[in-house]
């Protein structure tokens, strides 16, 4: 039990938090918990969840990607421009994926080859990618996609993709040598290099993956809202980091789980939607979400200290 709790400490705390939340929500406003409401609302968080998967891996290596929102915008605009020219939607989606992957590759290349801190690299590329998206689309919206595309992608396909990607990422992280290498890089990069782990290659592909995931999110958004614009990824980067950290991934690297991130996403999402549902004052939400993040981490480090010394 102790070992189990030690390993899944953050998940346990999150589950309790979630239970407490459900209890409060049920007491205040049980309608919120009905399948109809939850079913509608859960669609709103799929894109964030997809992006959070690779970013979790990046954060475990001790890195960060602040450009995911911008990559999402860039990929969305690529999709829109392609679709506008009459490209069939699967091809347009490929365009988006290529654009996202390229954006991620550039990050990965600079981070691993020039060895510049990812915070700096992605801060710079964030503004470059948003700018590029604004420039090539002239900041205008592009709308009206294939109805078949909308019903397929916005519906079951996205759930399927997310489930598959999450399962894949979790298994890869815990069961493969490469996955263990991710932790090794985060714990001590120099030591990882000495033990013949190809740190640069792993980093390069993780950032590429993040860009690609942002593109998947972009396509999903396009299907769900039937429109894209250069600003759709705005603020995504900080939402993702908030959820991941809440999910128990250490921002300094070396520790974290896919399950934790998904739980983090779910809690932020549920709390945000419920506050807005029940109190109907958007400004309160800012305080609640920020406060939740701080409290969760204060609690975590307070209890963490105890278990560490025990």
């Amino acid at each position: 039990m102790k070992a189990f709790l030690g390993r899944f400490r953050q998940e346990a705390v999150l589950l309790v938090l979630l239970a407490a939340f459900v209890a409060v929500a049920w007491r205040l406003d049980p309608t919120f918990l009905t399948p109809k409401v939850q079913g509608t609302l859960v669609k709103l968080v799929l894109e964030l969840a997809v992006i959070a998967l690779p970013v979790t891996l990046i954060v475990i290596t001790g890195g960060i990607d602040l450009s995911v929102g911008a990559s999402m915008s860039l990929a969305a605009v690529a999709f829109g421009l392609a679709a506008e020219r009459g490209t069939p939607w699967p091809l347009a989606a490929v365009c988006a994926l290529v654009a996202g992957a390229l954006a991620g590759m550039l990050n990965g290349w600079i981070v691993s080859r020039a060895r510049i801190h990812p915070l700096i690299v992605t801060l710079a590329t964030m503004s470059a990618y948003f700018g590029l998206a604004e420039g090539i689309s002239r900041a205008r919206p592009i709308s009206g996609f294939d109805p078949a595309f909308q019903s397929l992608v916005a519906g079951p396909l996205m759930f399927f993709v997310l489930a598959l990607a999450a399962a894949g990422a979790a298994l890869w992280l815990s069961r493969t040598v490469k996955g263990q290498a991710v932790f090794a890089i985060g714990l001590n990069e120099k030591a990882a290099r000495f033990s013949a782990i190809d740190v640069d290659k792993i980093k390069f592909w993780l950032y590429t993956l993040a860009g690609t995931a942002a593109a998947v999110a972009a396509v999903s958004y396009a299907a769900r809202r039937n429109t894209v614009k250069a600003d759709i990824g705005h603020g995504m980067e900080l939402d993702v980091v908030t959820a991941i950290v809440l999910g128990g991934t250490s921002i300094t690297g070396g520790r974290g789980t896919i399950g934790g991130s998904l739980l983090g996403i779910l809690i932020v999402h549920e709390v945000r939607q419920f506050v807005s549902w029940h109190w109907e004052r958007d400004e309160i939400n800012l305080i609640v979400i920020g406060g939740l993040l701080i409290l969760a981490l204060v609690a975590n480090s307070a209890f963490g200290k105890k278990t560490d010394s025990a």
Partner: protein, 320 residues
Amino acid sequence: MKKLPARELGVGLVLFVLVLAVQLANPAFLRPENVRDLLIQCAPFAIMACGMTFVIILGEIDISVGSMAGLLAAALGTWASPSHGGRPLLDCVFGVLFLGLALGLVNGLLVVFARVPSIVATLGMLTVLRGVTELVLHGEWVTDLPPFIRQLGIGVSGGVPNPVLVALLVVAVSITLASLTPWGRRVYAIGSNPEAAKVRGLPVKQVKLAAFALMGLLTGVAVLVSAPQLSVVESGYGTGWELFVVTCVVVGGVSITGGRGSLWGVLLGVALLSIIRTALIFLRLGDQASYWERAIQGVLILTAVLGDRVSARRRAEVGA
């Protein structure tokens, strides 16, 4: 301060080329009145960047400053405006400074004593403080800042605009603090090797707490000279400043992992980032160019960062 290290050369060079190019295209660029306006424009960011430099050299970061500036501006507005608080000048000035200091201390306490990583603690504060600002102003903006407050932002003392004067003062004090005091040396020592610093018995916690408090205080100073430049205090004041200030500092060559960097480089970073937008307007490219503005900014930042790294490598190779 040692001789200007080559680390700052990359930024300096990009800045120089940019200024030269714009000056050639439009001779009005370096006219005294524009230089003066550019300095006023830089002033609040230079002030905040000084505080951020210490925080980042310590190996920490503060991304709450944008929302902190928003809350402090709202506080200044509601205290000063005759239709709200109607407080006298000194009340407002010390109130804002004190509140800034207190908010900085909260960040510091979260990081030092609650042991929450600074990027996360201040990310939480970024969100919370923006919400508090919205609650404080509850949908109304302050539109009647009294003249004595406006004077802080638009007044001139001894021929120098107040914001520039204050910024010069802050920069001078910060540089002295960094290079001539034991505290400054401790900041570098702790940032370059926290474990060794602890072993040597340096007061790591106190130094970090002080750096966050200073960041909050300087955000207050920046708000005092920048918010009164405008007639309206709105709830979105300061949105995005956190990333701007951090970008200035890292473009200026401060290592994000701590231990290295100089305030001179940071000032070059502030100058470069503040000038880009003005420069693009002076190039008179017309409205179509506006759509590419952000992309150009991003590429310039990337160039400055990469150029610095490439030159550092070459130096290392030559030295080897």
